[in-house]
Every structure is written in C-alpha cells, then in structure tokens.
C-alpha cells in the first residue's frame, strides 16, 4: 500500500493544531482537577476530627488516640523546627557550592561536580533514612553530648542543646533533611546565578573589584530573589519528607520542645508511623494532619513562586 502524501497546509493542519491545543489544555486541567479532588476528599474525611477538636487541633499538643484526643501542635512544631534546622544548615553550603561551581571551579571540574550533585538529588529518601538510623544516629550522639557539655551553664543555649537520650532527634532529622535538600538548592541556585549578565560582572571587574567583591556587588543583588525562591522550594521538600524523617526523628508523642537533641515527631512522620493501625477517628486525625501539611506546603510554594516572579520582574526592569 502506498501512503497518501499528507498536505502540509490547509484545514487538516488547523484541526491537528486545535486538537493538540485541547489535549494540552485537558492535561493541564486534569492536574488541577486531581489536586482539587484530593483536597476535597481529604478535607471531608478529616472533618470529623476538625469538628470534634476545633481550633484545639492546631493549638494543643496532647495526642491521645485511645481517648480520642487529637492535638496536632507538637507535629506541626516538629515539621517547622526540623525544616528550619535543615535550611540553616543547607543554605550556606548550597550557596557556597553553587558559587564555587559557577565562579571559581575550572571548567574541567565543573561538569563532574554538577553531575555528582544531580546524582545526589535522585537518591531515594529511604536510603538517607536507613543510613541515618543505622550508620549516623549512634555515632553522632557522642558529638551531641560534647556540644551539650560545652554549653552547659549558658542560659539559652543549654536549653536548646540539651542532654540527649539517643541519636534520634530533631537535630539528626534536620541534618538528614539538609543533606537531602542541598543538591536541590544548589542546582537551582546555580541556574539563578548563571543568569547574571556577563556585562554586569565585567563592569564590576572593570571597577577593580576582586572576585568576592564582584560576587557581592553583581551576583548577589541580581540573584537575591531567585535564591530566596530556591530556598523556599527546598523548605517545601524538607517539610514534606516522610520516610527519612520518620526513621530518624525519634517519634515522641505530643512533646513540644525547643531542645534540638530531644526526640520529636513531624507531620509526615506521624502519618507514616500510625496509619497502618489507625481506626476511625484516629485515621481522621492523621488525614487532618495531612490536610494541614498540604496547606502549609502550598503556602510555602506560592510564596516561593511569588518571590521568584517579583525578583525576575525587578531585574528585568533594572536592565531596561
């Protein structure tokens, strides 16, 4: 059989074009639809706990499934606290690596470095979690104890770096999360930094700036917004991380502590830990926790993209 040559122009091309348009629109709409449906189902299944606990779900820390008391504050706190630790640890390192790759590293070193970082980004989180619990948690406990002894007697520090019963705690979870988000922040920051116009950098050099002064004067102002955005994206990842956190965070129930060395718990971790054996209202409580997590991550992502958009608009405005 001989194929009929297809007309390149004319009505059938319009049709294909339109069909593709609808298909693309459908796919995009489907994503929103699924997201909406997930939010709806989850909220409706969580409603029994929200109506029983009311605002107490957000403001009290007592989590007692046998008595049908569900206060989520300690888990919300744990999520925010471990993410904060992760960000504090990961951001300086990520930025330093990103600057090194883009500004300092010789071309021959650049490609392998980028490659290794991207590889680190695709390691499944359970691997980090198992490594954390099997290889990292017990040796690091000695370090924690040393830090605790070091700050003993100093008012605020001694309550933040308290005594440690074991290596599984907020800090360990924070460190593992930091390792997980470092490649993400690094590779995004690298791309942001690389958008700095060459002429701005050369202008700085022309004025006699050293490399550090060039980074401070040209790159940082140019990419500040973008970097904040990438940090927020890393934060979103850290808050949603489940298995790694569940394994190393210590899984305490209803404890609210500033002590980074005390066992804690986070929203995704408590869901992963308790889901299998949960009944009725307990299940509803865990779903409610997921709804809260959902809202917080959406909020963080919206803020992140707003910041990125604004800063891009600003830097475009500057240039013209």
């Amino acid at each position: 059989m001989i194929d009929q040559p297809k007309p390149l122009l004319g009505s059938s091309r319009d049709l294909v074009d339109r069909a593709f348009g609808w298909l693309a629109f459908g796919a995009a709409a489907l994503v929103l639809l699924i997201l909406g449906m997930i939010a709806m189902t989850m909220t409706s299944r969580a409603s029994s706990v929200f109506s029983k606990m009311g605002l107490d779900f957000f403001t009290t820390k007592r989590w007692a499934p046998p008595e049908n008391i569900f206060g989520g504050l300690s888990f919300i706190w744990g999520t925010l606290y471990t993410s904060l630790i992760a960000i504090v640890l990961a951001v300086p390192i990520s930025l330093a690596v990103a600057l090194f790759i883009t500004q300092v590293a010789p071309r021959r070193l650049k490609m392998p470095l980028v490659y290794v970082l991207d590889l680190l980004a695709v390691v499944p989180s359970v691997v980090f979690g198992l490594w954390g619990v099997l290889a990292f948690a017990s040796p690091i406990q000695g370090v924690y104890t040393k830090i605790h002894h070091l700050v003993r007697g100093i008012p605020v520090l001694q309550s933040i770096f308290g005594d440690t019963p074991q290596g599984r705690c907020f800090m360990t979870a924070g460190i593992i999360l930091a390792i997980m988000i470092t490649p993400i922040i690094t590779s995004l920051a690298r791309e942001v930094i690389e958008t700095t116009p060459q002429n701005e950098k050369e202008a700085a050099y022309a004025l006699g700036a050293t490399r550090w002064e060039m980074i401070r004067g040209s790159i940082i102002p140019h990419s500040k917004g973008g970097i904040v955005g990438t940090v927020m994206l890393g934060l979103g990842r850290a808050m949603g991380e489940t298995i790694a956190a569940a394994l190393v965070i210590g899984a305490s129930i209803g404890q609210l502590s500033l002590d980074v060395f005390s066992p804690g718990n986070s929203m995704p971790a408590v869901i992963a830990n308790e889901w299998g054996e949960a009944d009725d209202l307990h299940k509803s409580g865990l779903i409610a926790m997921a709804v809260v997590l959902f809202m917080i991550t959406i909020l963080v992502n919206v803020i992140a993209s707003t910041i990125v958009r604004r800063s891009m608009a600003r830097s475009r405005g500057k240039r013209t």
């Binding site: 499934p65 619990v133 599984r168 210590g250 299998g276 009944d279």
Partner: protein, 359 residues
Amino acid sequence: MKTWIAILASSAALLTVSCKKGDDQGSRKMTEGAKGAKQPEPSGPVTVNGSGSTFQKQFQEVAIDAFSKSQPNIKVNYGGGGSGKGRQDFSDQVTDYACSDAPYKQDAANKTKGGEFLYVPMLLGAITVSYNVDGVDKLQLSPETVSKIFQREIKKWNDPAIAADNPGVTLPSTEITVAHRSDGSGTTEQFTLYLDTATHGAWKLHSGSTVEWPADTLAGNGNSGVAQIVKSTKGAIGYVDLPDAKASGLRFATIKNQAGKYVAPSSESASAAGDGIDVKPDLTFVSVNAKGDTSYPITAPSWCMVYTKQPDQTKGDALKAYFKFMVTDAQQQLSGIDFAPLPKSLQDKAIASLDKIQS
C-alpha cells in the same frame, strides 16, 4: 504531597493485586487433594487476597507456602500492612480476607460492604518484656511493677518495687531506659491492654495502637526496632514479641499471672493462656491476663476474617479450603516460629464456624 502519592500508590497497587485473578496457574490439573481432612476443592485456578496483621505475617507466609503444595490451583497472597489496614481493606472489599489482632469496633463492624462475616481465631503469641541489665539473668515482674516502669514512675533498676518482685537478687543502680514502638502497633495495643486490665487503674496511659508515652522514652520501628534498642542500651527494657526477642538474643522477664505465678513467655504458656479465656459467641475474646497457673499473662490473639456470603463459588470454596488449612494442618507449624497454636477447645470452635461460609 509525598504522603498523598504514597497513599494513592498503595491503594492503586492493592487494586491491581485484587484485580489480578488466577493468571499464572494456567491449565494445570488438580491431581492431589489436600492431605488429612477432606477439604472442598475449587474447580479451576483461583487467586485469594488478604492483608492486615504484621503479627501474623510470618504465619501467613508459612501457611501459604504449605497450602500451595497441597492445593496448586489456589494462589493466596497476603499483603500485611497492619491490622487497621487489613480491617479497612476487608471492609471495603478490596481483599477477600483480613487478618487482625483486634476485632472491629462495633459501629465499624456494621459498615462492612460484604455484610456478615466471621472472626476465625488463628493463633496466640506471647509478648515479652525484654531487658538488658548486666548481672541479672532472671527477672520477675508483677503487672504493677511493669506499669510503673513503663510510666516512668520507677527510674532505677534497684528500685524497691523491682526488688520486692525479686527476693535474693542483687540489682544494680543502673538507670532504666524504656523502649516502645514508634509505629502504631497491635503489639502496643495488646501490651497496654494487659497493663490496663491487670493493674486495676494503676496504668494511666489507656490502651491503643499508639499511646502517650512519657517524654524520656525511646521509640523503635517495629518489634525489631525495639529489640535493637534494648540490645544496644544498658539498662533498657521494652516489649517485644517472642520471635523477635529470641532472634535478637534478648533476655526476658517472667511475669506474674492472675494466679500469682511467675510464668516465662513461650509457645506453651501462650497456648495455656488460650485455655483460660472467656470466648464470646462470635469467637472474639481478650487473651491478656488469662486464668490458669501456667498461663503467660501478656498473650496476644489474632484472627482472620472472611465473609459468610461468598458470591463466587470458586473463590468461596478456595477461601474455605485455606481457612480450614490454617486452623488445622498449619497450626502444627506455629510453635516452630515461636507462636502458639490454638488450644483444642478454641480450635474446635474455629473449625465448626467455617461451616457458616456459604458459596
């Protein structure tokens, strides 16, 4: 977000499993029937799916392995996932049978999609109170002392309460470290149920798959996670099921039972506990704190559930055959894996109840 994906993915996986009906057995003929008791035989290849209790996982694996040898036409899959998940899957008719360490709560039992169902008792298992104290080879504990230890009312091993249970034993002044489960667990539920039942109100944390453990306790994932903490921490104590305690080489306490005797956890003492319990007409029961001189008091039960009305004759027959196998031939395998077979009285009731399955 990740959580959602995980939940969606797991339910999708279950759906695919349950849709995949008798695929690989092809046209293999049934040549030999099951040995021993005569069992209904299905007319063609059929797949039966179950999920639930991780306490029963090992038994299910052993039973499925032996069953597939005598009934090559029936393929049984067991997914584990936890008792709560098992009850939910069964209730939604995602699975054909469920295994659970606890019965449904009353209102949830009426919501099952497949209507009336049976609780078939399967096995009993001892939960040990394992410890790691240098120089203490034998430890006796009363329920009141266990309760005080796990509520952190006692913090040192040479506390008078422990000494009173162990006359003549020199106890060190080591700090006690309490280990418990980080994941919601039927083992936690039975252990706390025991303390709730046996201490007459001294235990204040109630009973459940997760309870409010005091702040200065350690959490481990699964029985093996708790066992690992006990093994690696001097002065630690934790509740671990007998197979895992033995596998980790832990020492465990003898516990004072209702008759006032200190009994060590074992397959035999858990079976003995099964003789001293009040079984309800639907074959549910509480097996902790059982009567009898030789009963181990922290003995946990486990059931499998199956619907009495089976719309599909082949599948109904297959389920009936597998359940019959579990409560008869497979029982002999239990003591080998450190669980306890049903005592005779309970086994007879379990076998008789299977006649209610209609297909």
